[in-house]
Amino acid sequence: MADTHIGNGFVPSGQLQLGVFFQGVNSGTVWKSPESGSQTDFESFRRIAQTAERGLFAAFFLGEGLRLREHLGRPHALDVVGRPDAQTMLAALASVTTRIGLVATQNTTYNDPADLAHRLSSLDLLSGGRAAWNVVTTDNAWTGANFRRGGYLDHADRYVHAEAFVTTAKRIWDSWEDGAIAETPAASAWAAPGSARPVHHGGKHYTVDYVPRLPRSAQYRPVLFQAGDSPEGRDFAARQADVIFSAHPRLDDALSFRRDIVERTVKAGRGANDVKIMPASEFILAATPQEALEKKNWVRSLQIGPEQAIAYLEQFWGRELQGFDPDGPLPDIDPVVEETSETRGSGFHGAKAKQLADQWRAEAKDKGLSIRQFVSARTSRGDSSFTGSYTEVADRLAEYARTGAVDGFNISPWLIPTGLDDIVNHLVPALQERGVYPTEYAGSTLRENLGLATPVRQDNADTVRLRLTVGEQLL
């Protein structure tokens, strides 16, 4: 049994929240199934978002990738490819939903702070205070080739840059005084003179000189999610974020991640409970454990077919491996690249290829796994998957709530657009029976529904401390 004591004054809430991660690109969805719908039609997004809202989900979540993933120098053909712009899609969903939070993954390297802050503010106001920004810092020159600025950012600087970016965005969101706007059209001015402060930022990476155009929203400013797992990423989250979208769903791992984050958060001068954690996860559920297991095998066979298994290895080997039998052992030839490339997405970046190949061959041999079995175990969120009957999984999740290992899960449905139906129809009621899931939305904003405190204005209490921690100069 894992040591569940978190320490540092952390108090488990005993509650869980759910979010839905509509996956745009990956091998996670079973597009080969005849039941699988379009990955780009608006109706797919509407259906998932409205089902999630029926299940009282806190958030609808979209990822981002700013260059099409490649495989051996060409766009990747085997997995789902292509997805709409996150904020545009979420603005559309804002008009057909009323309570669910709308989370856009947006990169700090290829955006301008004033532009991004303004668009997030718009989404927040349009949705009545339901917007969130999942801050990512993916920074390779390969993605930069799609932007005016190009690959101008050194990998080592990604969080220095991100922190200056986020700090500037927060100041933009805090720049209009509350109550500045007139209460009636009969007033002498639309807004009280001087009620919007210009925001200046001058730093190593960019200069911003901006007069903000929008007031605060019902939740004051967009909720900040963060995804990025390095120590720098965790410290950045501990200082700046409200929620971490983590890659640690297994209970023991989740508990140690929580301990780490609580420690960093307290060190950053914030409360032990201030940063929520929601890991990425997949649920394969049925009425009985046996049915769930059968379903899992079926899902996996569609996610990782023979072609996907070979292609997965090719990405790390950097060469074609078509001659190898997917049901045979891992290739005995070595990779032709030194480092794995980023062209398949951020998860594939920078590992030492030869070392990885040796390690994998040993592991597969040890466990007696074929290429297909090995790849299947490594992908499809093997670690992040919850398989079982509704009641079984509800019991397991209640343990997460009791220990405070996580604040909730961000679920990736493996079927679009009906993949949330069994979760909402069966798992949610089972969690409610156990008293670990809300029975109604706590409020109308995402911040209220996540149980987050109202933020302090950036230019008051925060500023002094931020001056000390941010690697860029604040003017």
């Binding site: 597009w31 080969k32 545009t88 301008d112 004033a114 989404l123 009545g128 209460e183 807004a191």
Partner: protein, 397 residues
């Protein structure tokens, strides 16, 4: 007037469309003083929903959404008129799922925004609106927009080149997935046909602004499949793009302005000559008699707060006279975009008096639920320029 007589006039054969600009509380900077909601209620989804639905049910074919920093009104006090505005593209996206026939056209700047983002956002707007999206190209000449992103200011002669480059990047990115690139071939495990995806390899050759350094490049392909319309219709103000850029097809429609309604006809003819293939849309400010008050009286009252300065022709008068004017403008223009002084007031008059009269005359294109913006403009859905079976028009690029 006799509608029977009018419906048989020869000009009735020509059918145009009407666009409505939905920014703020109306075109007049003091419009908020006559709005039917509190000032703070302007900047939320409820207001966007109400205005776009009102425009659609009034029978407007197109809604446009202005963007950018609001210029401080001349000689007004700081904060006297509305200083805030929601992002235009997001307002259009918000309207997408709740409307069924009105075309949604946000203004999007081309000078200080990333072309790759613009292209993806507009393609996404096409998806969420079922093919009813367009792009009103703007080229900011405001120093504040340059300062916001820390770039050096692009002066007037660079604007057209920036705009043209940005349009070209977007068009190539929209074409970078051929229509049938998503194949979902279960037998081979291939989700896409890689041969139908293309790098756009755009490189601007121009030195856009003296101090901003050289141009830029965009690799592609797009991160989203081809928009539903293939290519979104692109609208540009007359004068922004050069004759060469227009004849190369950079814009599908041009918006023309004149100092007075009388001078509009001349401008329309000029735009038609400069870009024979593009639709011509005339711009018109509108103040109508309403609520027992004359249009001139209403305008004087608003102007006493803040004068309405605009480079567009302005109509101030009765619904009947506006109907006449629009009838005659639509004989030569393909469409007219109206900028009502006060949305809550003038839109009501337009909906109740002007549009029904024009419909009776048969001068308006029918509203077609489920139809695309390209349909409205009479444009074919183009093949991707990268498609293997080359089409004659591909030679132009």
């Amino acid at each position: 007037m006799s509608t029977a007589a009018n419906s048989s006039t020869p000009s009735a054969a020509r059918r145009g469309f009407l666009a409505l600009e939905l920014d703020g509380d109306g075109g007049h900077p003091a419009a908020w003083r006559k709005a039917r909601h509190t000032p703070a209620e302007l900047l939320d989804g409820t207001r966007v929903r109400a205005t776009v639905l009102a425009a659609e049910s009034a029978g407007f074919h197109v809604a446009t959404f202005a963007d950018g920093a609001l210029p401080p009104a001349a000689d007004s006090l700081d904060g006297r008129d509305i200083p805030g505005r929601l992002n235009a593209l997001q307002r259009a996206a918000f309207a997408g799922p709740i409307t069924g026939s009105i075309v949604l056209v946000p203004e999007v700047d081309t000078v200080y925004t990333e072309p790759f983002h613009i292209s993806t956002q507009l393609a996404s707007l096409d998806y969420v609106s079922g093919g009813r999206a367009g792009w009103l190209v703007a080229a900011s000449d405001q120093a504040v927009d340059a300062a916001a992103v820390g770039r050096s200011f692009v002066s007037a002669d660079g604007l057209g080149r920036e705009a043209a480059a940005s349009i070209e990047v977007s068009r190539r990115l929209w074409d970078s997935w051929e229509d049938d690139a998503v194949i979902r071939d279960v037998a081979t495990g291939r989700y896409i046909d890689v041969d139908k995806l293309h790098y756009v390899d755009f490189a601007s050759t121009v030195d856009f602004a003296s101090t901003a350094g050289a141009g830029y490049s965009v690799k592609g392909p797009s991160i989203i499949p081809r928009p539903l319309q293939g290519q979104l219709p692109v609208l540009a103000p007359a004068g922004l793009l050069s004759a060469d850029q227009l004849s190369a097809g950079a814009a599908d429609a041009v918006l023309v302005s004149a100092p007075t309604p009388e001078l509009l006809a001349g401008e329309i003819a000029e735009a038609r000559a400069a870009a024979p293939a593009a639709a011509v849309i005339a711009e018109l400010d509108v103040v109508l008699d309403a609520r027992g008050q004359s249009a001139a009286g209403r305008l004087a009252e608003l102007d006493a707060h803040t004068p309405w300065q605009s480079s567009r022709a302005r109509f101030v008068g009765t619904a009947a006279a506006l109907t006449e004017l629009l009838g005659s403008v639509l004989e030569t223009a393909d469409g007219v975009r109206l900028h009502p002084a006060v949305l809550d007031v003038d839109l009501e008059e337009l909906a109740q008096l002007v549009l029904p009269a024009l419909r009776r005359r048969g001068v308006l294109a029918p509203q077609q639920p489920g139809s695309t913006f390209r349909n409205l403009l009479g444009l074919q859905r183009p093949a991707s320029r990268y498609a293997a079976v080359s089409v004659p028009s591909a030679a132009n690029n």
